[in-house]
Subunit: 256 residues, 2 copies
Amino acid sequence: MTATAAFDYPESAAVSPQELEARLRAIGDARYHHLHPFHDLLNAGSLDRNQVRAWALNRYYYQAMIPVKDATILSRMVDASLRRSWRQRIIDHDGEADDQGGIRRWIALTDGLGLDRAYVESTAGILPGTRFAVEAYVNFVRERTLLEAIASSLTEMFAPTIIAARVSGMLANYPFISKDTLRYFDKRLTQAPRDADFALDYVKQHAVTAEQQTAVMEALVFKCSVLWSQLDSLHYAYVSPGLIPPGAYDPKDWPE
Amino acid sequence: MTATAAFDYPESAAVSPQELEARLRAIGDARYHHLHPFHDLLNAGSLDRNQVRAWALNRYYYQAMIPVKDATILSRMVDASLRRSWRQRIIDHDGEADDQGGIRRWIALTDGLGLDRAYVESTAGILPGTRFAVEAYVNFVRERTLLEAIASSLTEMFAPTIIAARVSGMLANYPFISKDTLRYFDKRLTQAPRDADFALDYVKQHAVTAEQQTAVMEALVFKCSVLWSQLDSLHYAYVSPGLIPPGAYDPKDWPE
């Protein structure tokens, strides 16, 4: 048995910031979860209400942990100016009061889908695959270099496309979805590009050696796998073959 | 939408050590990965050589990280007598030289399946779901109490049954599997019960309050989900629906 697929060896020479950006975009083109079949099923209206519920329930845990992830990054920044920029992400997600912020807007979606709010917030019913992937993301930004931690946020470069397709697709195809329940995504259409621009500028400025550039690209590959893996788990449990792991959300336990 | 499935609330009163053991065994009966459909497919000879390769390749990462997990637990033990018992797990996995120990015996299996050894050891081709689940296990034993860390090893109580079925099933059904390549499991038939007895005695002795007993049971539930989730990822990527995530082992890249 002989390998035809070569391992990815680091480049020996550094590339220009523009070339680095091009390579990061190429990673997104090949590995961002807009290519995952579950994404198409969701947007095309091919899922039933319970499958959409499973998605929203699991994705809640990701949303809820994003400020924890960002606070971890913030705790590693020794530069006040950098912290001033980064803290906005936490403010966006947590809002100024309990009825505000990105996490609250996600709850509007799970509310709109008829999920029990205490059950959602307990995260008792999420898939182990969701939990492990999200925890891997938080651990990554704690354990790797600050440069890699910032680079792992660069999937937001690719978010606007997926959000536009998702909102229009879900509104057109699901009678149980309203524009109001999807308002999380409205905000993200402006927040994600702002955040992505900041992180991309930082990475282009600070990843100057070949080793740093490789680390940055691998951080983005890692983050793509965090997102992709969550859709793998959802697709496996609730679509094909449809085998729900012990203890995870099972629509049979929640009669209408 | 109203819940019919109640959340699992902790018991208000502690139970006897015997009753705790019975509850731990009941968790295994319901959640250990002997119930996973991938386990049946593997043992029944329903997988092709490449699917068995994918299993062995991914499981290698779990095997390779077990001594890291056990060293993490060892580092948290302040009692020399306890450390003397626990360190044997690391010795079993790492052996006395490069050609010995449990990890080396797992490599005998991946060698026997024709997998490139450097590729296996690089873990470059494992599924993100495998990586995240195994890392979750290592993080669990670092972050939780020592009691919970020890309790998370209790899946070994259920290992002998699965190993016996696996060895006989694989030998009977796969012409590309020999007794010699499965020698990892021979050793585990004696090591796993010894280790499980020690951990079970420890847990029965030290989990005396209702809170501790609940924590111990939840640690075992967690560990069952670590094992189960790995088979979910394998089943999804290589059996049904058979969607291999970007970058993971793809038999098409490895012509015979």
